[in-house]
């Protein structure tokens, strides 16, 4: 059993037929973590005792044949910005020092109800702000394909864990690409659902109109299986949509005949790595060979997307991060004097540089005298970006782009230049702004590093993008795995 290749559906088959028990599978994953995580650093917290207890519970269900789902007994990593009751949750920040949530995020609760086994909390950029996981207050995560390179971000720990056999699947969160980008850089499948598809209750908020939780998995079938478990209306999240959840595995039919694929020229940006473009174009040729109808389209407001996003997201973040004030939880510096000193010193000591930068940017954009020129303007541009997609989906069923303009870059390469780092998201931020679903699936290689193809769909049409990804995946060569 090769943990780097073991999918949820294969694990389920082994568990259901009792070829392996959940406790042994969890032990194997914990051993793998022990073996490689000193190097990869995918995890902030590993929970061996709780995971073995959960695995024993899963074995009981499997033995009785009661309450068994495809996820029962399957080890999962949870990005450390989702609340896990009784397990410290850090958001990779010093300002949440000591915080142990008294409740589970809904997505976490749903995985537990399905019998999944949480093995630990995965590393991320602090408060999900970043594209490389280098902004973690603790340590960067290393890309299993090349240890000198970033795994992408902000869900870098989640993606690295899946790629390197340290979890069978993972949950990440995506505000501007933070599930899709690391999936692309690590050779995994990653999906950002439609805004409102998955509950945000218990997901530590970064930008409330953009955030979504999504699966990071080894293949498309696994993505569908996780979506089945976590999607759906939640009474505890007022922004969750009351839209029925189909069985996403029913979408896994390798048939794209007549599927209309739009390819926006604007996503093949100047500065795109030529091998990345080639890999995506080859994938499109494959889809055409399978019967899809590929045509070039235009999403004219794409070039304004990064500017619009990097006003809206920091603005919302500045409001969401106001709660880290030393009053109710986490770091609290009390040097004497009044509450003002506590606020300022706690926040100065507790937040990292990128978080401070975004709070400052966001506060400025919302402040009196600047609100119209920045925040309101950015929101209007957001409307234009959404309208581009609405128009495109009149004649296309899905839209295909590269997930990123390059493959994984080196650790340290972009960290000193915020603007260069923000450009990493040029292909992904539009999707959050429009609220549509998007998925990254591996489609090739450049310099031995994975390239991801992004497939976008209409709101609540995850089924069609899963079908397109599945058809492509089943028709192409089996993915390679990183060297041991």
């Amino acid at each position: 059993m090769n943990l780097k290749e073991l999918t949820i559906h294969k694990a389920h088959e082994l568990l259901a037929t009792r070829q392996i028990c959940a406790v042994d599978l969890t032990r194997a994953v914990l051993e793998r973590i022990g073996e490689v995580d000193g190097t990869i650093k995918a995890y902030i917290t590993v929970t061996p005792e709780q995971s073995l207890a959960a695995a024993a519970g899963a074995d009981e269900r499997l033995r009785r044949g009661e309450g068994v789902t495809p996820l029962t007994g399957v080890p999962v990593a949870i990005k450390d910005n989702m609340c896990t009751a009784g397990v410290k949750t850090t958001c990779a920040s010093r300002i949440l020092d000591g915080f142990v949530p008294p409740y589970d995020a809904t997505a976490v609760a749903r995985l537990k109800a399905a019998g999944a086994v949480i093995v630990g909390k995965a590393n991320l950029d602090e408060f999900a702000m970043g594209s490389s996981t280098e902004n973690s207050a603790f340590f960067p995560t290393h890309n299993p394909w090349d240890l000198e390179r970033v795994p992408g971000g902000s869900s870098g720990g989640s993606a690295a864990a899946v790629a390197d056999g340290e979890a069978v699947f993972a949950l990440g969160s995506d505000t501007g690409g933070s599930v899709r980008l690391p999936a692309s850089f690590c050779g995994a499948v990653g999906m950002k659902p439609t805004y409102g598809r998955v509950s945000r209750y218990g997901l530590v908020a970064f930008a409330s109109s953009l955030d979504q939780i999504g699966p990071i998995t080894k293949d498309v079938r696994d993505c569908a299986l996780v979506m089945n478990a976590i999607a759906g209306h939640d009474y505890l999240d007022a922004t969750s949509a009351a839209v029925a959840v189909p069985d996403y595995t029913a979408a896994l039919i390798p048939d794209v005949r007549g599927l209309r694929i739009g390819v926006p020229a604007e996503y093949f940006v100047a500065g795109i790595q030529p091998e990345v473009e080639q890999a995506v174009r080859n994938a499109l040729a494959k889809l055409a060979e399978l019967g899809a109808m590929v045509s070039e389209i235009s999403l004219p407001h794409t070039r304004y997307a990064v500017a619009s996003y990097y006003i809206i997201a920091p603005a919302e973040a500045s409001a969401n991060l106001a709660r880290y004030d030393g009053v109710k939880y986490g770091l609290s510096l009390r040097p004497g004097g009044d509450i003002w000193r506590m606020y300022c010193q706690t926040r100065e000591a507790g937040f990292g540089a990128e978080v401070k930068r975004r709070i400052m940017l966001g506060t400025y954009a919302l402040s009196a005298g600047y609100y119209d020129a920045y925040y309101l303007k950015a929101q209007k541009v957001r409307t234009l970006i959404k309208q581009d997609f609405d128009a495109a989906f009149q004649t296309c069923d899905v839209i295909v782009t590269p997930t990123a303009p390059t493959v994984a870059f080196r650790i340290g390469e972009r960290i000193e230049n915020p603007l260069a780092m923000y450009q990493t998201d040029v292909c992904t931020v539009t999707v959050n702004q429009a609220g549509i679903p998007g998925l990254s699936v591996p489609c090739g290689w450049a310099d031995g590093l994975p390239v991801g193809m992004q497939i976008l769909g209409r709101p609540f049409d995850e089924a069609t993008i899963l079908r397109a990804a599945y058809a492509y995946e089943q028709a192409t060569v089996v993915r390679r795995v990183p060297a041991a």
Binding site: M360, K380, T383, K386
Partner: protein, 101 residues
Amino acid sequence: MPITRRDVEHVAYLARLGLSEAEVEVLVRQLDSILENMQILGELDTTQIPPTAQVLPLSNVMRPDELWNPLDQQEVLANAPASEEGFFLIPPVFEENPADL
């Protein structure tokens, strides 16, 4: 309009964010450069375009006015940096000597 030191200090005040001298200097440069890049949005005529605050057609999402299980007070206070008799303990909001105001 370039970002000045005064702008950075004012925004930090609004955000209740302490900044070291070095941080202020770096932020003046970085914010100026980032905001310079945002000027591209000025190319678009958006006078007739409504803003998008959120993408779903949801408003006034209500729930029935019924009790449900709240978090246990002790569990919540377990995370508190300081607490007393069921309250979060905080430094004074106002200085003790009103003459300082």
